[in-house]
C-alpha cells in the first residue's frame, strides 16, 4: 500500500514537537515528509534511520541530520551550523549555503551544498572500511577546510570563485582522507600537516561519479568539471603529528 507523504507546516513550531512528529511518521512507515515554513528549528532528522525522504522548505537550525543513518533530506534554503554532524548514512542535499562546521565528524553518507560553506567544513571527518563520507561544495569554503580530517572526501568546485578557495588553513591537522579543490591552490593556504599532490587521471576517474551526481542534483553541466584541473590535498605522512607530544 502506498503511504501518502506527510506535510507539516512548521511555522512557529519548536523543534521538539516537530522532531517527534517526524520520528512517529517514519516509525509508522511514511516514506516522504514535506516540512514547510521551517525557520531555525534545530536537530531535524537527528538519529533518524531508514530510507525516508524529507523535504525541508526554509532555513533549518543547527545540527541538521546529526547521527542520521539512512534518510535523505533535501533542503530548499540555507542551513546553519554543522549540518551532517556525525552523520552515519544517507544524504543532505542543500540548495543554498551552510554555516560553520559543515559535516562535523561525519562518518558516512553525503552532504552536498550548492552554495558556500563557512569555516571548518569537514572538521574531524573520518572513515572506516566501506564507510567513506563525502562533503561536496558548489561554491567556496572559508578557512580551516578539513581541519583535523581523518578520512573521507571533501570536494570544492568553487563555481563563480577564482581561485576556488582563498582562505587559509586548508587541511590543518589532517591525518587521513583527501581534499580536492578545483584549480590551483596556493601553497601558503595549506595548513600544518597538509601537502598538495598531483591530481591524476586515476583520481579524476575515481571522483567522476561524485562530480556527476553533484551536478545532476543541482542541474549543472558536469562536462566542464570533468575536463579541468584539480588540486589534491592529503596528509603529509600517515602520522604527521607523531612527534607533537612525545620525543623520539
Amino acid at each position: 500500500m502506498e503511504v501518502e507523504p506527510l506535510v507539516i507546516d512548521a511555522k512557529g513550531m519548536h523543534y521538539t514537537p516537530l522532531n517527534k512528529m517526524i520520528r512517529a511518521a517514519v516509525a509508522s512507515g511514511v516514506k516522504e515528509i514535506v516540512l514547510n515554513n521551517v525557520l531555525g528549528q534545530r536537530f531535524i532528522g537527528n538519529g533518524l534511520r531508514g530510507d525516508a525522504k524529507i523535504i525541508i522548505n526554509g532555513v533549518p537550525g543547527g545540527d541538521l541530520g546529526m547521527f542520521m543513518s539512512g534518510p535523505e533530506c533535501e533542503i530548499f534554503g540555507d542551513a546553519e551550523h554543522a549540518p551532517g554532524n556525525t552523520m552515519d548514512k544517507g544524504s543532505l542535499i542543500i540548495h543554498g549555503s551552510a554555516g560553520d562546521a559543515v559535516a562535523h565528524s561525519m562518518r558516512g553518507g553525503k552532504v552536498f551544498v550548492e552554495g558556500n560553506i563557512g569555516y571548518r567544513g569537514g572538521i574531524h571527518m573520518k572513515e572506516y572500511e566501506d564507510k567513506r563520507p563525502i562533503l561536496a561544495v558548489g561554491g567556496t569554503s572559508h578557512a580551516f577546510l578539513g581541519e583535523y580530517m581523518a578520512g573521507g572526501l571533501i570536494l570544492v568546485l568553487g563555481i563563480g570563485h577564482e581561485p576556488a578557495v582563498r582562505d587559509r588553513g586548508i587541511g590543518s591537522g589532517i591525518h587521513g582522507g583527501e581534499i580536492v579543490i578545483r584549480g590551483d591552490v596556493n601553497d601558503k593556504l595549506l595548513g600544518v600537516g597538509a601537502t598538495k599532490v598531483l591530481f591524476t587521471e586515476d583520481d579524476l576517474e575515481r571522483l567522476a561519479p561524485v562530480i556527476e551526481e553533484f551536478c545532476e542534483r543541482f542541474d549543472l553541466d558536469s562536462s566542464s568539471f570533468l575536463d579541468t584541473n584539480y588540486s589534491r590535498i592529503i596528509p603529509s605522512s600517515s602520522r604527521p603529528f607523531a612527534g607533537k607530544y612525545t620525543w623520539d
Partner: protein, 350 residues
C-alpha cells in the same frame, strides 16, 4: 556559547523591541536562562541632551541616597524614576532598575576635550567600585540597556521592550561559562555611547584589563566582556580611532599577512599592532558594538564563533544565526558570512 543579534536602520527609522525579542527567543538554546538583555538607541527623545543613567539598586535607601548625592555633586538630575517592570513567573527580581536623566556640570572637568563624557565616565567608575548595592549598567545619551538574569522572552517581557522604539538594537542571550550568571553580568555592556554584546570568551582578559585599568577604567562586573566596552571607549573616544581601525587593533591580521601588505599599509599595521599590543584580544569571540552613529560586528581572527550578516534596504542585521535575522525580517534580501577579523560596519546616513 551565547546568542547575539544586532540591527541598525541607517535612516534612523525607529523599530520597537518586539521583533528582536522574537529573534533572540529563537536562539534560546544558545543561553541557559541566566542572563539576557537588550540595548536600544533613540529611545529617549524627550531627553535628547541628558545622560540616561540606568542603575540596579539592591534597595532604595542607602545605595540610592549615596548615588543621588554623587550625581547632585557633579551635575543636575533633570528627572528620575523607577524603570517600569512587569512581574514574570520565570524571573526573580533581584534588583530595582532605576533611571536618572542627568546633565553633568561641564566646568568641573579640566584637561579633556569632552568634559561631559569624562565626568560621567568617572561617576560610573566611582559608583560601581564604591557604592555597595548600586551598579550603573547604562550611561549613554538617548539610549538604554535593559537586562536581567533570565530567558530572552522573560527579560523582554519584564521590561516590556516593545514599548521602546530605537533605530539601533542589540540583544544577547547568555550562557555563562567562566563566571556566575547575575544581573550585572548579563549583556549588553555599556559605557557612555558604547554598547557591546559578545559571544565567546576573551582569554586575554588579564592583559586587556591591566591595560584599561592603567588608563583610568575599573572592571567591576566579574566578566570579560566589560573590558571590550572600555577598550572601545579608550581607543574610540579618547584616542579618536574610527571603528574599523579599532577592530584592526583589537583583532589585527596575522604577522605573515602583514608581511605581505603593500609597504605603507604594512608599516601602518605594524605600528598599530605594536602601539596597541595590550589591547589585542585573544580567544574565541563574535562581537557587535553599537554607538549612536552605527554598529560594527567582528569575530576573532580564526573565526571560532559564528556571525552572519543580512541586509534589506536601510537595515543591516548581524547575528549568530541566519534564522534569527529571518525572524526579524522575512524579506531580508542579502545574507552572507563575513571573513574572520573583518569588521562589518553599518553607519547612520545623515
Amino acid at each position: 556559547m551565547c546568542g547575539i543579534i544586532g540591527v541598525i536602520d541607517r535612516t534612523m527609522a525607529r523599530m520597537d523591541g518586539s521583533s528582536i525579542k522574537k529573534a533572540l527567543g529563537l536562539m534560546d538554546e544558545r543561553g541557559s536562562g541566566e542572563g539576557a538583555g537588550y540595548v536600544a538607541y533613540g529611545i529617549y527623545p524627550d531627553y535628547p541632551d541628558c545622560y540616561a543613567i540606568h542603575v540596579f539598586f539592591d534597595n532604595l535607601l542607602e545605595p540610592k541616597s549615596d548615588v543621588d548625592k554623587i550625581l547632585q555633586k557633579w551635575g543636575r538630575i533633570v528627572h528620575q524614576e523607577e524603570i517600569p517592570t512587569y512581574e514574570q513567573p520565570g524571573l526573580k527580581k533581584e534588583h530595582i532598575p532605576w533611571r536618572y536623566f542627568f546633565k553633568p556640570y561641564t566646568d568641573l572637568m579640566v584637561g579633556t576635550t569632552n568634559p561631559d563624557d569624562d565626568n560621567v565616565k568617572r561617576l560610573v567608575m566611582t559608583i560601581n567600585s564604591n557604592v555597595e548595592g548600586a551598579l550603573v549598567f547604562s550611561s549613554g545619551i538617548n539610549l538604554g540597556v535593559f537586562k536581567a538574569s533570565g530567558w530572552p522572552e522573560d527579560v523582554a517581557n519584564f521590561y516590556r521592550i516593545e514599548d521602546y522604539k530605537g533605530y539601533i538594537w542589540l540583544a544577547h542571550n547568555r550562557y555563562p561559562t567562566n563566571t556566575a550568571g547575575w544581573w550585572g553580568g548579563a549583556h549588553p555592556f555599556n559605557l557612555l555611547d558604547w554598547s557591546v554584546v559578545h559571544n565567546g570568551e576573551i582569554t586575554s582578559y588579564g592583559t586587556n584589563r591591566r591595560y584599561v585599568e592603567s588608563n583610568g577604567y575599573k572592571c567591576t562586573m566579574s566578566t570579560d566582556t566589560e573590558v571590550v566596552a572600555y577598550l572601545f571607549d579608550f581607543l574610540g573616544r579618547r584616542h579618536g580611532l574610527p571603528s574599523d581601525m579599532i577592530v584592526e587593533a583589537l583583532a589585527p591580521p596575522f604577522w605573515d599577512e602583514i608581511d605581505e601588505m603593500p609597504e605603507k599599509q604594512e608599516e601602518f599595521m605594524r605600528t598599530l599592532r605594536l602601539t596597541y599590543g595590550p589591547a589585542l584580544m585573544n580567544g574565541p569571540f563574535a562581537i557587535v558594538v553599537a554607538t549612536k552613529d552605527g554598529i560594527v560586528g567582528f569575530t576573532d581572527r580564526i573565526k571560532l564563533r559564528p556571525l552572519v550578516v543580512g541586509e534589506n534596504g536601510a537595515r543591516l542585521y548581524i547575528s549568530s544565526e541566519e534564522a534569527a535575522i529571518r525572524v526579524m525580517d522575512p524579506e531580508v534580501e542579502k545574507i552572507y558570512m563575513p571573513r574572520a577579523g573583518e569588521p562589518v560596519i553599518g553607519s547612520v546616513v545623515e
